[in-house]
Each structure stands twice: as C-alpha cells, then as structure tokens.
C-alpha cells in the first residue's frame, strides 16, 4: 500500500525523516534508509534544511525509491521561482515521486551562505495551489499537460507560533488550496497542541486532511536549550527540560519522553499519525517505533 492509500484507509501513520548529506555521496542515504525500511510508512527528505546546501531532495527521494522506501519530497520556495518549481515538480513526478510537502522554507540568513538571494516567488499556500493545479492537468500558464501528474500534497503547520488563531486560519487556507496531509512542528507542549487540535476538530479540518503530529526525540538537554533560544516559533514545556536535566542517561530519557508523547498523541482526537524527526539521529527512529508498539507495514 502506498502512503496515500494508507492515509485514505485511516490507519495510524508513522513518518520518518532523513536529512541528505552535504556531499554527493548517495550511499549515506542508502545507509540511513535501512533504519526506515519496513518500519515507517514514508520518509521525509528535507530540502536544504536551514538553508544549508545539501544533496537535492529530488535525487535523494529517487534513491529512497530505489531501495524500496516511500519518500515524501520536501519542496521549498526559498530557492526556486515558479518556473523552477513547476519543472522540479514535473521532474519528480517523472521519477515516480508523488508525495510532496510544500513549505515556504527557512530564510537564507540562517544557513551557511547568508549572502544568498532568497527567491520566495510563491509562498507555501500558493505552492500547494500550484501542485493542485498541476494535478488537474494544467500548468500555471494554463497550458495543458499531455500526461497529468498525481501529487499527494502535504503541508506543514506550526501550532506553537503566534498568533494562535492565525495558525488555524493558515491551516484552513492550506487545506483549501489542496493539502491532503499536514505535518506539524515537533510537539514539546502538549497543552497548546491539545488546544490546537480541539480547534482543528471544531473547524472540521481533520476530516479534510490527515494531521500528523511531529515528535522530536532529543539526545541532550543542550539541544532543547538551543531550540528554545535559537529556533524561532518553538515552545518547549519546562517539564521536559527538567526531566532531561535530572536524568542520569539523557539519551534514554529522551527516548522515553518521545514514547510517552506518542502514546498521548494517539489519544487526541483528530491526530492521524506521527512524524518522527530526530536531528541527525536517524538510528533512533526504529527503536521508538518498536517501543511505542507501532509496527507499520
């Protein structure tokens, strides 16, 4: 079953995430894919995340397809104008990559080449609409395509950034534009997330798209502190910081927190799956999936 069919059938979804290497070494992805094969339903391939140059997401997604893992290709608006976006989408479809996650992208200032020019020709809502339009057989120029691509369009949502209600409006826009699944930013504050999900259910959006909650296992308390300070738009409950600080083995505690979180998330109405996104710690995903009792496939 493909990722799309699984979402449509309503099973609990588990997604992983791979960050491509900063070189042309495709074997890194083949190596990492071993952690995911037969464990998760699909794997996100980041697109030059935090504006640092990496192996392209299309090529990485193709490598994943070759080894039998279903990719979700991330596509950002930072590096491409509408011509490149459509061309890349067509290229992806030709290679058999159908799941795309449409993002606006991190600003180039945060990357390793802050002097770059950001494009931002479209924003994420418009990117979703573009992919949806292509699904209907037309390019943005209204030209008809001979072969119609079949994208399964996803988007991101950040329930933790302010203002709270604007986040719901934005989710509404994304769903209206054609997003069929939503991956949220990592949950580190259950209260806000629960409140957000309540609103989402109230608006009926959980029926129009599958909400996959982000879970980020962390290795050390340092990582949490760093996120709290440096990464904009995240909220971290002090409870987790305290727990990690007092733990004798922070790695183990991090895994424990992630598993508890998954179990709590499963109980929230409207949550259709999870998206596990450890930073540079892919090997932990199978452990968490197994211990949380989520055998996929």
């Amino acid at each position: 079953m493909t990722f799309k069919e699984k979402i449509e059938s309503g099973t609990f979804i588990v997604c992983g995430e791979i960050g491509p290497p900063k070189s042309c070494d495709g074997d890194v992805i083949r190596e990492k894919s071993k952690y995911f094969k037969g464990v998760v339903d699909a794997v996100n391939i980041t697109d030059n995340q935090t504006a640092i140059v990496r192996l392209s997401s299309i090529a990485s997604a193709k490598i994943l397809l070759e080894v039998g893992v279903e990719p979700i290709m991330q596509m950002t608006c930072r590096d491409r104008n509408r011509i490149a976006i459509q061309s890349d989408l067509l290229g992806a479809a030709a290679l058999g990559i159908h799941n795309v996650l449409c993002l606006t992208g991190d600003y180039q200032k945060f990357g390793d080449q802050p002097e770059a020019k950001g494009v931002f020709d479209l924003d994420s809502v418009q990117l979703i609409a573009t992919a949806a339009k292509m699904n209907s057989g037309l390019l943005l120029s209204e030209q008809e395509m001979k072969k119609v691509p079949d994208f399964f369009i996803g988007a991101a949502a950040n329930p933790f950034a302010e203002p709270f209600e604007m986040r719901l409006i934005r989710l509404h826009k994304k769903v209206k534009a054609g997003a069929r699944f939503i991956q949220t930013q990592p949950v580190f504050d259950m209260d806000i997330f629960t409140r957000w999900m309540e609103k989402v259910v109230e608006m009926g959006l959980h029926e129009k798209c599958a909400i996959l909650a982000g879970v980020m296992p962390v290795k050390s308390v340092k990582a949490l502190h760093h996120m709290k300070k440096e990464v904009p738009g995240v909220k971290i409950n002090d409870e987790y910081i305290n727990r990690l600080e007092n733990a004798s083995d922070p790695k183990e505690e991090g895994v424990k927190i992630a598993i508890e979180m998954i179990q709590a998330l499963q109980k929230i109405k409207g949550v259709r799956g999870i998206h596990i996104m450890p930073v540079m710690w892919e090997s932990i995903t199978p452990v968490i999936v197994k211990e949380a009792g989520l055998g996929a496939i």
């Binding site: 931002f120 994420s124 209907s136 534009a177 738009g233």
Partner: protein
C-alpha cells in the same frame, strides 16, 4: 476545471498606460507609503490585510505568517522587528475583519511590480478591494467560498 491563481499578466501594459501608471503612482505613493508601508507590488491586497502592507515581510508572504513568528510576535528574520502578519492579525481582529484573512491571495504577478494598483483595479487586472466587510457581504462570501475560485 482550473484554479485561478495568477493575476493575468496579459494584456501587456502598453507604453502609454505605463506613463499614466507612473503618473498615478505618484499620488498612490503619497497616500500609501507613509500610512501603510506600501512596497509597490502593484497588486494591492491591503484591504484584506487590515491595511498593513504584507510585502514588508522579508519572505514576502501573501497568505499569512511563516512558521517562525517568535514569542511576542517577533519576526524570525529580524527579531527586532514585529512580524507583519502578527500585526495584521491583531489589527484585523480590532477592525472586525478577521474573516478576510481566509481569502487566498493570488500568486504575485511580477509584471505589475511598480505599477499603479489603482489603475490595475480599474483595468480589472486585479481583484477590487473589499472595503466594507458588512456592506459587501455577497462579495466577501464569494471571496471566501469554500471552493477556491474556479474558472468554469
């Protein structure tokens, strides 16, 4: 069935019109730049953004804030600034225009960059502004219709 998302760039703006556009732009600048922080995108969406120009966002977001708005509404790129969409949200709330934020703004037509938005409205190149939310109920409804505006 298709989604109408790009403001049509055709017909190309004629040289004569360009001149007139530049003339109008002078007055538009006087009105819009100091008050709204207009950036001359030529495709004015001020009426749906509570009269704050969204194009001052470093990412030029036309459809709401990116995921990086920090605590207290600071912009992710320039933390010393307020996120424009944060301000737009609170002013929309104050002015009772929140439902306009649900409107999906079209992909920017760069042909219109630096032209007079007033003229573009007049020439029906871009959507007319929605001034009075309550008086324009039908229009607002159209704009917010659940299905994205579709051509035939």
């Amino acid at each position: 069935m298709s989604f109408e998302f790009v403001t049509s760039g055709k017909p190309p703006i004629s040289p004569r019109e360009k001149k007139f556009s530049r003339f109008l732009l002078f007055f538009e600048d006087v009105a819009k730049v100091p008050v709204f922080g207009c950036q001359h995108c030529g495709e004015c969406i001020l009426s749906s953004t509570a009269f704050i120009c969204s194009q001052r966002c470093p990412k030029r977001m036309r459809n709401g804030p990116c995921g990086g708005t920090g605590a207290g509404g600071s912009c992710e790129v320039y933390p010393e600034r307020k996120c424009v969409w944060y301000r737009i949200y609170y002013r929309s709330k104050m002015l009772n225009r929140l439902n306009l934020l649900y409107k999906i703004n079209k992909i920017h037509n760069w042909n219109l960059e630096g032209t007079s938005a007033w003229l573009n409205v007049f020439m029906k190149r871009i959507d007319a502004p929605i001034w009075f939310v309550r008086n324009d109920k039908k229009k607002v409804k159209e704009m917010l219709s659940d299905d994205i505006q579709r051509k035939n």
